[in-house]
Subunit: 134 residues, 2 copies
DNA sequence: TTGTAATGTAATAATTTTTATTACATATTT
DNA sequence: AAATATGTAATAAAAATTATTACATTACAA
């Protein structure tokens, strides 16, 4: 996985900290990455119904619902990679009895792990996460 | 995370399937990646005490202990990334109250998740994983 | 004791992925 | 109508991953 989860959490925390509309430039300034990347992630969070946006002058972004109704799991799901345990790029040798089957078995293992993770992340809300900041 | 876990699992499964010494070239052929990459991962697994190697002609690799004593968690630990949830490359803006603290809080979250994952992966042994193959 | 086949590892190149940048259309407020 | 923001496409730059080449070292076996 890349830095997308961190970025999404950072965005959501900033929106949680101030209910007013926040611009992508301001968010990018706190995260310290390119504004276009932030807008791309905002666009994804929007698609997943986690935030609202307002076009035009004085526009910006805000949480789509109260922070105590947003689980960390829902944020994770919005940015989740194909495989949490990672996957090799190459097709294993189909002539090898192990190679032929291993990807399926690894996929099953990965699904098991993800279930446990999402379960754990579902225990915490954005509001609880935000409480840790002083 | 990259493909290292997949590769390590593939190596370990192949060694589990045949107790005789296996060469890195043979392993690379089944995985279908460059033999040098395989040797690098073998060198890492060796360092973690999961496998044995034998130098010289007719040399190769074998499991360091019975497959039923090797947990998937121990294989994961040998290749585990810094942060399972990923991390952004940039330092957040220290002038921002959220930016200043978020990395610490994300690190805590990550540690929680990893604990749950390793717990789950500790339930299964290589022998059990191998049983799934026909 | 010499040839062969294997591990072990360093250096470098190629490829892929991620991140940054530029540009501009569209929307909304003042 | 001007200003400021979202939204998005196209491209460039940087970083990470994977592949390749090269070769030293070890051990078996003829």
């Amino acid at each position: 996985m890349n830095g997308r989860f961190s970025i999404a959490m950072h965005i959501m925390t900033l929106l949680c900290a101030d209910a007013r509309l926040q611009s992508s430039d301001y968010l990018a300034g706190s995260i310290n990455i390119n504004p276009v990347l932030v807008r791309k992630e905002l666009s994804n969070l929007l698609k997943h119904g986690l935030i609202n946006s307002q076009l035009g002058k004085n526009g910006g972004y805000s949480l789509a619902k109260p922070a105590k109704e947003i689980t960390i799991a829902s944020i994770y799901k919005a940015v989740k990679p194909n495989a949490i345990l990672g996957q090799a790029k190459n097709e294993p040798n189909p002539a090898c009895p192990i190679g032929k089957q291993i990807n399926n078995h690894l996929k099953t293992l990965d699904a098991d792990i993800e279930r446990v993770m999402v379960n754990k992340l579902g225990d915490t809300t954005l509001a609880e996460f935000y409480k840790k900041f002083d």
